[in-house]
Amino acid sequence: MELLLNFISENLTMLYILVFIIFLGTEVISNVPTVLHTPLMSGANAISGVVIIGAIILIRQASADDYPILILGFFGILLAMINVAGGFAVTNRMLEMFKKKKK
C-alpha cells in the first residue's frame, strides 16, 4: 500500500495530466458526424503510433553491443513507424476524396 502511495506521489503531475486528458479526449471527439468515423479512427490510430518515442528512447539508452535490446528496439521502431507513416497517409487519402467531392 505504501508502495502504491509512493508511486502516486512520485508521478502526481503525470496522473493529473492523465485524468485531464481523459476528459479532454472525450470532449474533443464526441459530436463527430458518421461520415468521419472511419477517417477519425484511422487518424487516431496513427497518433497511437506515438509509442515509437518509447522505442527510440530505449535504443538510444542502450549500449552499442547490447544486441537483444537493439534488435527488439529495431523491430519496435519498424512496426510503430509503419503504423505512423501508413496511418497518416491512409487517413490523408480518405480525406482527399471528401475534398474533391465538395466542389
Binding site: 495530466i17 461520415v35 539508452q61 542502450a62 552499442a64 529495431f74 509503419i82 501508413g86
Partner: protein, 462 residues
C-alpha cells in the same frame, strides 16, 4: 536547459495532436487536422532523437534503419491499398502499434536491474503495458483475418467465455506472483507474454464478423492505452497524452457504435453474434421472387423516388462507381435518387460514406438512419445492394434473433424492394432475412457491379 526546450517542444506537439483531432471531427477541416497531427508526430520524433541523454550509445544507425524501412513499407501500403480494404488495413496498422508497446515492455523487464525491488508502480505499469500491447497485437491480427476473409466465423472455440475467464485469471495471478518474488524471473515474463498473446486471439475469435467495427475501435483504444502506459514508464508526456487521447477517442467511438446497434459493449464481447446461436431458422418452404433486368429498369425509370441501401456487398463488388452511374442516368430521367446509410453498414462506421465519396456521390444525397426511415413510406423503389442484417425485420419482430433490438432501415415500407445479392446465403450475422420473402420484394441475383451496369444499360434502352 535542454530538458526545458525538449519539454516545450513536446508541449507544442501535444497541442498539435489535440487541435488535429478536433479538426478531424469536422468535414471542412478534417484534412488540415490530419496534417497537423502528422506534423506533431514528426516534431516529437525529431526532438526525441536530438535530446542529449545521460548515458547510452545513441545507436542512430539502428534507429535510422527501422525508421526508413518502416516509412517505406507504411507509405507503399497506404498508397497501394484499395479503398474497400481500408478497415482491415486500419486493424493491421493498429496491431503493429500494439506490438511496439509489447516490445518496449519486454525490454523494460530485460533491463530491470538485479536487486531492485520488483513490487513497484513502475513494474506493475510494465505488466499492464505488456498485457494490453499483446492483446492489441494478436487481437488486431484476428480482426484483420476475419475482415479479409481468411478466418471464418465458423472457427468456434469450445466454451470461449470459460477459456477467456481462466486465461485472464491465470495472467493476473502469475503477474502478481512474479512481482512477489525477490528476483525477476524472466521465464515467467515470457509465459505471461505468451498467455497474453493467446488471450488476444481467444478474445476476438468468438466475436462475429458483424461486430468487427466495434472490436477494431476497442483494440484501437487498447493500443492508445498501451502507448500511454509506456509513456508513464518513461515519464514521457507526449506518449502519455497521445496514448490517452487515442484511448478516449477509441472508447467514445466504440460506445457510439454499440449505441447504433442497440447493444451494450459487454453484450458484444461476451455474447458475440456467432456464439449466441442462430435464432429462428427458416424452414426453406417459402419462395423468393426473382426480378428481371428489363422489369427493374422500367420500374426505376418511371419511379418518382429511388433510395439505395448499400452494404458490404457493394464494397466487395467495387460497385460504388456503377451505382453513381445509375444515379446520374436516372436523374437525367427526373427520378429523385438518394442513399440510406445505416450506421453499421459495411465493416466500419462510415465505410459506405468513404466508398460513395470515392465515386463522387454528392454529400447531401446521403441520408442517415432516422431521415431515411421517414422517407421510405413515400419511396417507389428501394435498391438494397449487398446489405442484409441492417434491413432484417427480425431485429424488430423476433425476440429470439441475435440482432433483436438493433435499429434497422425500414425498407419494407417502400412500394417496391429490389435486393441485389449474389446468392441466398445469409449475411454476416449468419441469420436468415424475412425481407427477402416479403410481398413487395424481388431478388436480382448476381455480382452487384455487373447487375448494376446491366440495369444502367436497360434504363438507357427502355
Amino acid at each position: 536547459m535542454e530538458g526545458t526546450t525538449t519539454n516545450l517542444i513536446y508541449l507544442i506537439c501535444i497541442s498539435l495532436f489535440i487541435i488535429g483531432l478536433k479538426k478531424l471531427s469536422h468535414p471542412d477541416s478534417a484534412r488540415t487536422g490530419n496534417l497537423l497531427a502528422a506534423a506533431g508526430m514528426i516534431g516529437a520524433i525529431i526532438v526525441t532523437l536530438l535530446t542529449p541523454l545521460e548515458s547510452g550509445a545513441n545507436n542512430y544507425g539502428w534507429i535510422a534503419g527501422g525508421m526508413v524501412v518502416g516509412t517505406a513499407i507504411g507509405l507503399t501500403v497506404a498508397r497501394k491499398i484499395k479503398m474497400t480494404a481500408m478497415p482491415e488495413m486500419v486493424s493491421l496498422f493498429n496491431g503493429l502499434g500494439g506490438a511496439c508497446a509489447m516490445l518496449i515492455s519486454i525490454v523494460e523487464f530485460y533491463n530491470h536491474p538485479a536487486g531492485e525491488p520488483l513490487l513497484s508502480g513502475q513494474m506493475i505499469t510494465t505488466f499492464f503495458a505488456l498485457f494490453v500491447g499483446s492483446i492489441s497485437f494478436t487481437g488486431s491480427l484476428v480482426a484483420y483475418g476475419k475482415l479479409d476473409g481468411f478466418l471464418r466465423d465458423s472457427l468456434v472455440l469450445p466454451a470461449p467465455k470459460l477459456i477467456n475467464m481462466v486465461l485472464l485469471l491465470v495472467i493476473i495471478a502469475l503477474s502478481a506472483y512474479t512481482l512477489m518474488q525477490p528476483q525477476l524471473n524472466f521465464t515467467y515474463v515470457i509465459v505471461i507474454l505468451g498467455l497474453s498473446l493467446i488471450y488476444g486471439i481467444t478474445f476476438v475469435t468468438p466475436i462475429g464478423g458483424g461486430d468487427m467495427p466495434v472490436v477494431i475501435s476497442l483494440l484501437n483504444s487498447f493500443t492508445g492505452i498501451g502507448a500511454a502506459l509506456a509513456g508513464l514508464i518513461y515519464g514521457n508526456q507526449v506518449m502519455l497524452v497521445g496514448g490517452i487521447l487515442v484511448g478516449a477517442s477509441g472508447t467514445i467511438l466504440t460506445i457510439l457504435m454499440c449505441q447504433a446497434m442497440n447493444r451494450s459493449l459487454i453484450n458484444v464481447i461476451i455474447g458475440g453474434f456467432s456464439a449466441s446461436g442462430g435464432g429462428t431458422a427458416q424452414s426453406g418452404d417459402e419462395v423468393v421472387k426473382e426480378a428481371t433486368y428489363a422489369d427493374t429498369a422500367i420500374m426505376l425509370k418511371y419511379a418518382q423516388k429511388v433510395i439505395v441501401v448499400p452494404g458490404y456487398g457493394m464494397a466487395v463488388a467495387q460497385a460504388q462507381h456503377t451505382v453513381h452511374d445509375l444515379e446520374k442516368t436516372l436523374e437525367e430521367e427526373g427520378v429523385g435518387f438518394k442513399y440510406a446509410i445505416h450506421p453499421v453498414a459495411g465493416r466500419m462506421p462510415g465505410h459506405m460514406n468513404v466508398l460513395l465519396a470515392e465515386a463522387d456521390v454528392p454529400y447531401p444525397k446521403l441520408l442517415d438512419l432516422d431521415d431515411a426511415n421517414k422517407e421510405f413510406a413515400s419511396t417507389d423503389v428501394v435498391l438494397v445492394i449487398g446489405a442484409n442484417d441492417v434491413v432484417n425485420p427480425a431485429a424488430k419482430t423476433d425476440t429470439a434473433s441475435p440482432i433483436y433490438g438493433m435499429p434497422i432501415l425500414d425498407v419494407e415500407q417502400a412500394k417496391n424492394v429490389i435486393v441485389l445479392k449474389r446468392s441466398m446465403n445469409p449475411g454476416y450475422a449468419g441469420i436468415q432475412n424475412q425481407l427477402f420473402f416479403g410481398e413487395r420484394t424481388r431478388m436480382l441475383f448476381g455480382d452487384a457491379k455487373s447487375s448494376l451496369s446491366k440495369l444502367v444499360e436497360e434504363v438507357n434502352n427502355a
